[in-house]
Structure formats: C-alpha cells, structure tokens
Amino acid sequence: MVIECSRVTKRFGSQVVVDELDLSVPAGGCFGLLGPNGAGKTTTLKMIYGVTAPTEGSIRVFGEDVTKHPRRVRARLGVTLQENALIEVLTPVENLRVFGRYHLLSEAKLDDRIPDLLDFLDLRSHAHLPVVALSGGFQRRLQIALSLVNEPELLILDEPTTGLDPAVRLALWSRIGELRARGTTVLITTHYMDEAERLCDRLAILSEGRRLVEGSPRELIDAHLARAAVEIDQDPAHHASLLARLNGVHHLKAGRRLMIYGDDGPALLEAVQRAGGDPAGLVSRPSNLEDVFLALTGTGLDGDA
C-alpha cells in the first residue's frame, strides 16, 4: 500500500473534520476522494502529505510514519493544491526552476527535467511568457507540472480540473492516464462524477469526515442502484402524484429533478410516461456515480451541499 490511514481523526477545537477514517491506497492505481465541500477531503490530503498531523490515528505513506519523516515522504510525492500558487511575474520555466530547488534538485538536473515537463503538459509555446499572461488552463497545467518536478511516485491532485474548459480537462485526463501507465500512484479529489468515473479504479465517498462507501465506480453503482435511470424535470408539486401512480419505485429528488431507477431502461421510460411524466422533461440514461452520491448523502455534488 502506498497510503494507509487507520482510524484517522482530525479535530479543530470541538469541530470534527475527519472522523475515524480508514483508507488504503494501493500502488499504481488512481484513487478518488469524493464528497461535497466541507466533507474533509482537503484536510485528509494535508494529513497524507504530512503538513497537518492527525488528532488521532496513524498515517503511513510509502510505509513510513509521515508525521515523523515528513521530509523523506514529501521528497517522493507531488501535490497540486486546489488554488494555484504560481509566481506571476516569472515564466513557467522560472517557476519550475524555483519549485525544483525546493526539492534540492541540482541546476543541471533541472536543465534536463524542465523541457520534459514543458512537453508533457504542452507548455512549450508559452514557456517564456510571464505566468500572469497565461490563461487559466495554462496556469493549471503549470501548477501540475510543478508537482511533477521531482518525478513523484505518488501524485496528489486536489480538484485538478475545477473551472477548466472541457478541452483542457480531456487533455489533463489523458496525461494522468499516462502517468499511471508509468506506475505513478494518483490520489485525486473531485466534485465531478464524470472525472471520477473516468479516472479512478477505486474511490471513497466522504461526508462530514466519514467514509460512506468505498469501491470501484461500477461496484458502487451496482451496489446501490438499479442500472437504469429516468430523470424528470417537472414542477415538484406533481412529483407526489406521479410517484403514487408508479407505485413504490426507487427514486431520488433534487429540486425540480426527480430520478426514478429500474433495471430495464425502455420499460422504465414507458412506465413513467404512462404515469403522466411530461415527455418534454424526460431523460433516460444509465445510473451513474452522481446518483450514488445523491442516494448516500442526499446532496447534489456541485453546489447545494
């Protein structure tokens, strides 16, 4: 295991942010931490890279107690924080050089490493412009490049693609795939279910500092919901009568949206239409992680939590 958290609790005063969390991240995979804002994801990451000590419990990274050997552990991992921390007046090349020195990499080593990173994250065309002149996508890619400067065995990404356009997200996902293919372990937090389904072999859903479930995306969907979903966008006043006519079907509500689950998609759609679901507001689709999240926490992932 690259990361082993056992019964980890973090309290700030009387506030419990992480509550007896058990987490095991095996080498080579991509592990996702999902949860609404305030679920304890970032605090968990901070404890894993050893900047914040757990109040109780133990964390081993690469088999070492991270609270005792933070320098040694951090030399072997890279972290992309939620917020970029770039030096705006300097260029990507200069930022990489400054960050590489934090890892005590020699100037000669950096001369070798920096062009590789620029290529890997498609930064070469903007390598010598001040960061302040770069778009959000470029800045984010540079931030990720910084966290790769020491060739980490473990890459920790805290909401890496929040606020990025779809093209940049797709490009980043493929880079993360390449890193995994080279054997890098990836630990990622995200609000985006599509991102988690696409990248993660395993994931844990956190809520209020507790782990609700853990498994592969497919396992989680299969364990908690039927395969098909019909989504209804309709005035909530009509939800009750519709559900009464559908007679005890598994469902979830999120504002105007009502989700109904069943094993057979077409049959489910037909049943909903017969029960009076407004055809204009109906979407038939496979169940996904977002449904699982909703089922487990009763909150949508991208906002109202």
């Binding site: 300097l90 960050f99 934090y102």
Partner: protein, 255 residues
C-alpha cells in the same frame, strides 16, 4: 524541527528569482531614501548647525542613516510581502508540499530580509564613503552591522506580521513604530543631551537606538562597554523573537 540550511536557501532563492525580475520596480526606489535624508538634513539643515557630537551635522547623521536603511530594507520584506505570501498567494502552502518545513520557510525569509537590508545599507555605505564621510576602513568595519540590523528588524517585523489579523495594521507598524524609531533613536540628535536620567534609561528599550550607536562606534572608533550592551540587546531580542516566530510559523502553517 531543525532548520535545514539547504531548504532555507531554496526559499531565499525563490525571492531572489522574483526580485531579479522586478528589482527596478521594487528595490530601486528605496535606495534613494537615505540619500534624500542625507542631502536634506545633512546639507540643508546642516548648514545652520556648526557641529553636533563633535563633527559636522552631515557626518553626525550618516552612521544612523545606514542603520535606518538596513531597518527599512528588512521591514518591507517581513511585513507586507511576507503577509501576502502567507495569506493570499499561498506561497508557503505550496512550499510545504515539498520537503521544506515551516522553520526553513522562516529562516529563508529572514535571510532574504537580511539580504535586502544589506543591499540598501551596503549601497548607502558606499555613497557615504564616496562622499568622504567614512574612510574605506571604517566603512568596512561598519558593514557587518548592516545585516545584524537587518536581522533585528526582520525578527521584530515577522513577529508582528504573524500576530496581526489584518494587513491594515501595518500602517500602525510603519507610522507609529518605525517612524518614531527613525526620529528618536539618536539618528538626528544625541538623545543623551536632550533627555534626563530616567527618560534616558527608558530610551534604552528603543530597538533602533542600539544599531545606531554601534554604527556610530564603527564610524568614529571609540570603543566602550556600551558596545557589548548594544550587541547583546540586538542578539538577545532577535533570538527571542525568532524563537517565538518559529513556534507561531509552525502552528500557522501546519493547521
């Protein structure tokens, strides 16, 4: 945790890389500050003063202004700049994802503040030597006092920055702390001729007074027991404040 000199140096290099790009905007203007005082007070006001402390007025204020240049150089860095790096730019948060520890961050920042103090104080010493207000030998003796003054004011400034809840309070620090120090620490007139017994003893708390006296001693070469007291004051206050700052830095950065 102990400071790792190489990691502290990496923090220092971060600031060096930044100022290598922006020195014209951020460093250059302050070079002129002590020169302006020297000209206005030394030559302007000095024209009406036949002598002070046994020399011309311009020669009297020159050593004190070297200490002031060092004080200001260190102060800018550990106040606004360090506060913004800690609270807004997330610079330290990013550093702490690498093997760098909070104590390294503090050491690197203090070292950088001392560097900036030495740049200002050192350049001003050159100007003074060029104007014939200090012999090259005396200027060389005064030189190590410049980073020492920087250390003291880096320690005071960072201790303040770590304790305030909002950036706005720096205006108090500059206007109601550094400014009075500048005006009442033996730079422009000899305190011992203007204050009576009890007040004179109380004035010993003023942090700038000690670097100014040390600087004056380096310039005129009259050693006395007071030098030991001044050096001890600077060393002890710096170390106590840095020890405190190290504890707060760790607490703040590892929360």
């Amino acid at each position: 945790m102990k400071v790792s000199p190489r990691h502290a140096l990496a923090v220092w290099k971060r600031n060096f890389a930044l100022y290598r790009r922006t020195w014209m905007l951020n460093l250059l203007p302050n070079f002129f500050e002590p020169i302006l005082y020297l000209v206005s007070m030394g030559i302007g006001v000095g024209a009406y003063i036949t002598e002070m402390g046994g020399t011309s007025y311009i020669a009297f204020i020159a050593p004190g202004l070297v200490a002031v240049a060092a004080m200001n150089g260190a102060s800018f860095e550990v106040t606004y700049n360090a506060y913004v790096r800690m609270n807004y730019e997330k610079t330290y948060e990013a550093m702490l994802t690498t093997p760098i520890q909070p104590e390294d961050v503090l050491a690197g920042e203090i070292l950088w503040a001392m560097t900036r103090a030495t740049l200002y104080g050192g350049c001003f010493l050159l100007v003074i030597a060029a104007m014939g207000l200090a012999s090259p030998g005396r200027a060389l003796i005064a030189l190590p006092l410049v980073p020492l003054t920087g250390l003291l004011f880096a320690a005071i400034g960072i201790a303040f920055s770590l304790r305030i809840p909002t950036l706005d309070l720096f205006s108090f620090y500059f206007t109601l702390f550094l400014m009075p120090l500048f005006l009442f620490s033996d730079v422009f007139f000899p305190l011992e001729e203007r204050l009576s017994g009890g007040w004179l003893q109380l004035a010993e708390v003023l942090p700038l007074l000690h670097p100014v006296r040390l600087m004056r001693t380096a310039f005129d070469g009259t050693l006395s027991a007071q030098v030991a007291w001044d050096l001890a004051y600077v060393a002890v206050l710096s170390l106590v404040l840095l020890w405190m700052a190290a504890r707060i830095t760790r607490r703040r950065l590892t929360a």
